[in-house]
């Protein structure tokens, strides 16, 4: 019995390793990135890399450039200097493949207030060309049972956030970029999301996030990057 335990652990490890070798090397790489906003250098000469299975937490004060960095990493904005690579190919060639493998959730929720939670989910599924599935169960899991067909403008900020984060349960994308995902969420939703992030990392996904809150779960592959506030 005692012998069996390490054995099963090692098979799990080889499973994870096989995922890692299949996507060998860093999946996302930024070299010498710099970003200038309103004549202020937010960061320069910033290099980072992310492999599958890793969680990269970007820290820094308000205005340090965290969101700008995330938008650059998501391909939504251009860095003022530097290069980005997806699976060792420059963004110029690999951007379509990268975007197809990316789920970005920014400050804005992406939730249309006039539509219900179900209709919003249906729209994202269509936009990501996913098959329809049981959205009711997903919304119930997110604590929105009974609110499925209420227009989202009637929901509280935290509930709207939950609708917005539901995308993380829909998407097959392996790379997640989350800008302050815990904003407005209550404790139970925060732990639900962290649990989901942990599962995603164990499945071989990669996550970049910013948050001012302490992560309550233990993420073994956590890398932290501190952006200094510069004048």
């Amino acid at each position: 019995m005692n012998l069996n335990q390490p054995l099963s652990a090692s098979t799990e490890a080889t499973d994870a390793a096989s995922i890692a070798t299949k996507n060998a090397g860093p999946v996302l790489q930024g070299q010498q990135l710099s970003c200038i906003r309103q004549d202020r250098v937010l960061f320069e000469q910033l290099s980072l890399q992310l492999s599958y299975g890793q969680l990269l937490q970007i820290q820094g004060k308000n205005g340090a450039g965290k969101s700008s960095l995330l938008r650059i990493l998501a391909g939504l904005a251009q860095p003022d200097d530097g290069h980005l690579y997806y699976q060792a190919k420059p963004f110029a060639q690999s951007l379509p493949a990268y975007c197809a493998n990316l789920c970005y959730i920014g400050h804005q929720s992406g939730v249309h207030e006039q539509l219900t939670a179900l209709e919003n989910l249906r729209f994202w599924r269509a936009a990501a060309t996913l098959q329809p599935a049981d959205d009711w169960a997903l919304l119930a899991k997110l604590g929105l049972a009974g609110l499925e067909d209420v227009p989202c403008r009637m929901l509280s900020a935290g509930q709207q956030r939950r609708v917005s984060l539901a995308r993380l349960w829909l998407t097959p994308a392996l790379i997640w970029i989350l800008d302050e995902p815990f904003t407005a969420l209550d404790q139970s939703a925060i732990s639900l999301l962290q649990q989901h992030m942990l599962e995603h990392l164990n499945k071989g996904g990669a996550i970049i996030l910013t948050t001012h809150q302490q992560l309550t779960l233990q993420f073994q592959s956590l890398i932290q990057l501190e952006l200094a506030y510069r004048w």
Binding site: R71, A74, G75, L76, A77, Q78, L95, P96, C99, A100, L102, Y104, G106, H107, Q108, S109, G110, V111, H112, E113, Q114, L115, E119, R122, F123, W124, R125, A126, A127, A128, T129, P151
Partner: protein
């Protein structure tokens, strides 16, 4: 399939925000009903000004609907999501355009018999007006989607939008009103219709691409 879901979404939104499309239609009717009152019910006079007046009212009412086309989706981040996902932006634009035509262009077409009555248009001119509206309103929708996409990030984009797209409406105004005028004095108007059709096809080929680029630029 994707476009159908998007179109359903747009139609659902229109059903929930009725003011967005009812206001332009009412505006069109009100403006046209004021002309006989202001100028006088003299039939010959009305017949002369009718072609221009109808099309000017149509342009302005479409412009009224254009400003808010992308505003909500821009503000709540839907467009950012679509740009980040990179696919289905074109389907989104096409669904928007078609829904805009259904809600502002098509009603003008359906109202054309009423308009003809108000301005004393004859049978032949009514046919010409309906045909120019049929070819012209999709073009109006395409151009207003373009203007709306370019100005969606501007806070008070209304006047900017008008400055941007009214000049693009001018060729349409000239040829459409000239077609109605020709019909009302018994001349052929196939030439004008052909030009309208050419403009529509050109816009149909180029505008969706321009709109997707405009959305991308505004988000980044």
């Amino acid at each position: 399939m994707v476009s159908m879901v998007f179109l359903q979404r747009e139609l659902r939104l229109l059903a929930r925000q009725k003011a967005d499309w009812l206001n332009p239609i009412l505006f069109f009717i009100i403006v046209l009903s004021l002309f006989p009152l202001g100028i006088g019910p003299e039939p010959n006079m009305l017949r002369i000004i009718a072609p221009g007046v109808i099309w000017i009212a149509a342009l302005l009412s479409v412009l009224l609907a254009a400003e808010r086309l992308f505003k909500d989706d821009y503000r709540n981040g839907v467009i950012e999501q679509l740009v980040a996902g990179r696919h289905s932006l074109l389907a989104f634009v096409l669904a928007k355009t078609f829904a805009n035509w259904l809600s502002t262009g098509l009603p003008l077409l359906l109202l054309s018999p009423v308009v003809a009555l108000l301005l004393g248009l004859e049978q032949a001119a009514l046919g010409a007006m309906a045909l120019t509206l049929l070819l012209g309103t999709p073009l109006l929708s395409l151009l207003s989607v373009l203007g709306s996409a370019l100005t969606m990030a501007a806070d008070k984009g209304g006047i900017l939008l008008a400055l941007l797209i009214l000049p693009l409406y001018i060729p349409l105004l000239i040829f459409a009103s000239s077609a109605i005028e020709a019909a009302s004095i018994g001349l052929g108007y196939q030439g004008q219709l052909a030009i309208l059709l050419a403009m529509l096809l050109l816009a149909l080929a180029l505008v969706p691409m321009a709109v997707t680029s405009a959305l991308r630029i505004n988000v980044s």
